[in-house]
């Protein structure tokens, strides 16, 4: 007899495979999702009492399918027509391996018709198997609101004429990029929240990594899938050192590196080497390479900033992203001194006007160059503009630290 927690894990693992099978058979994404949820509820009620079945996935598919046929029959009866969809041989599930089905599901959930927020919610529900309450909690949104968001997302997919299949031809790389972007957004949401008091939602980061692993099993040759997984592993490896016991933010150069997860780092580095060997370096591989440079430095001062500066240069050329340019400016400062970094920041005044990270970075470099007054002002601007409470505390504290130093070193009578 399994423990309740084992059953819960089992159900979560099974969810996407069951949903994929049912959608493949019946074609209606929204109704299939409902039917699968109902089957899950049945399972969580019946299995503890009657024992977990030999083939849990098969059991769930069977129960969900029965609910679908019941629903179709009652709808047909209402319409006064016989509907033979359930018996249609052309809709029988093809014998594809489970992980391919889950990948197709991921492709469906990252449908271009959906906003990023909707795609994220739907992916977490349909592929990661989180409950609506869990997803709502992760995004600090009431459960009912999140349920509506997911329901509307399902309807958008329903409205699209796309059957359950892998997107073909030129559509595929674009859709895969979309899938990777959604996974990365989920990870970012878990690693650094954009607003609110909690700095990291570890569960979301872990889910993103799990989704990337699923994608990797289905696409073992794709270097960007490997790159994304490597990036997330290398980044998440730092999480134990990122905040202190009180939840305060600890910047990279001050982190206790002995707390970093070495196993995750080793796996990330190996994945990256595998990906890079395949040629066609993409943006996730570059970001992973930068993360690997940090991970490889035993102490902050051992960091190969010149290498990092070069990698950011490549990444900037590839993406044109001003945030990448910002990070490159930091690397420039570490190689050639703060004035080199500050010069690069001037180019970002337009694209990143008013962005808290521009002010925070400038403050840091101004402090490095000894211009305390200007640094204090920039830290203040950054603190005002950030959306994250822990980050706001950190920036305010930096301003306070410099203020205290300035006060104690100024001549008497000022």
């Amino acid at each position: 007899m399994r423990r309740a927690a084992d059953n819960e894990d089992l159900l979560r693992e099974a969810a996407p495979r069951v949903l994929a099978a049912v959608v493949r058979r019946f074609g209606d994404f929204a109704d299939s999702e409902d039917a699968v949820q109902e089957a899950m509820v049945d399972a969580s009620r019946q299995w503890p009492a009657q024992g977990t079945p030999e083939n849990p996935v098969g059991w769930l598919i069977h129960v969900a399918s029965r609910r679908m046929t019941d629903r179709i029959r009652s709808e047909s009866a209402r319409r006064g027509r016989e509907d033979a969809v359930a018996a249609d041989p052309t809709k029988r599930p093809e014998a594809l391996p489970d992980h391919d089905d889950t990948l197709v599901l991921m492709f469906m959930c990252c449908h271009p018709a959906l906003t990023p927020a909707s795609a994220i919610a739907l992916t977490l529900r349909a592929v990661a198997g989180l409950t609506t309450a869990e997803i709502g909690n992760a995004f600090l949104v009431p459960e009912a609101t999140m349920a509506q968001r997911i329901s509307r997302a399902k309807q958008s997919i329903k409205a699209s004429p796309e059957p359950f299949r892998m997107p073909a031809g030129e559509e595929r790389p674009e859709r895969l990029r979309s899938v990777l972007r959604v996974i990365y957004l989920i990870f970012n949401e878990g690693y650094v929240t954009s607003s609110g008091p909690e700095l990291a939602r570890a569960e979301l980061a872990a889910e993103a990594i799990r989704l990337a692993r699923i994608a990797r099993i289905a696409l073992p040759e794709d270097p960007e899938v490997a790159g994304l997984l490597a990036l997330m592993l290398l980044t998440d490896a730092r999480r134990p050192a990122r905040t202190d016991a009180a939840g305060k933010l600890i910047p990279l150069e001050e982190q206790d590196r002995s707390l970093w997860d070495r196993k995750a780092i080793d796996e990330g580095v190996a994945l990256l080497a595998d990906a890079v060997a395949r040629g066609a370096v993409g943006e996730y591989q570059l970001q992973a390479a930068i993360a690997a440079e940090h991970a490889g430095a035993a102490r902050a001062k051992d960091t190969d900033w010149r290498e990092i500066f070069g990698l950011y240069g490549l990444l900037e050329k590839m993406t044109g992203n001003p945030m990448v340019a910002l990070n490159r400016a930091i690397a420039a400062a570490m190689v050639d001194g703060p004035d080199a970094g500050l010069a690069l920041l001037e180019d970002l005044d337009k694209p990143l006007d008013g962005h808290h990270r521009l002010h925070a970075t400038r403050a840091h470099l101004l402090e490095m160059s000894g211009d305390v007054d200007a640094a204090i002002a920039e830290y203040g601007l950054a603190a005002d503009r950030t959306n994250s409470t822990p980050e706001q505390h950190y920036l305010t504290t930096q301003a306070a630290r410099l203020n205290t130093r300035r006060r104690s070193s100024s001549p008497q009578g000022d």
Partner: protein
């Protein structure tokens, strides 16, 4: 009974400088106080929500007649000290308990470690109709 416990930018009767001019230790003590209070309210089952709001400089004010494009102006308008810094929503047994909690908020440590003595607004949240 649900109440909002509101902190505006004004209402500090003592002479307290902006937080950027405090010592790091004083800032940490203040933040810890707020965290501990939230934890206490959470543990007692009284905390519904607690949030800080973005700086008043980023506040926007919108007026619309429903037809033409709305008029959007930048804050701080009209008096920045009337603008909200943050709020808590609490669910408590009585008005007295809500006032007790507000008193705790008002006594958060300031730059010198002594209570900040901020004036805290307490407003009951309207609820559903009471059945006879």
């Amino acid at each position: 009974m649900k109440f909002m416990v509101l902190q505006a930018y004004g209402g500090v009767t003592r002479d307290v400088p902006p937080m950027g001019e405090w010592t790091p230790e004083a800032i940490e003590a203040h933040i810890k106080f707020q965290k501990d209070l939230n934890a206490e309210l959470q543990e007692r089952g009284e905390l519904v929500d607690a949030q800080g709001l973005a700086t008043p400089e980023l506040a926007k004010f919108v007026v619309s007649n429903g037809a033409a494009a709305p008029l959007v102006t930048d804050g701080p308008f009209p008096e920045s000290k009337e603008l909200l810094a943050g709020y808590r929503v609490i669910d408590v047994e009585s008005t007295e308990r809500a006032l007790e909690i507000a008193a705790q908020v008002s006594a958060a440590p300031a730059h010198d470690g002594a209570p900040i003595e901020q004036s805290i607004e307490v407003r009951q949240v309207m609820g559903p109709p009471i059945e006879d």
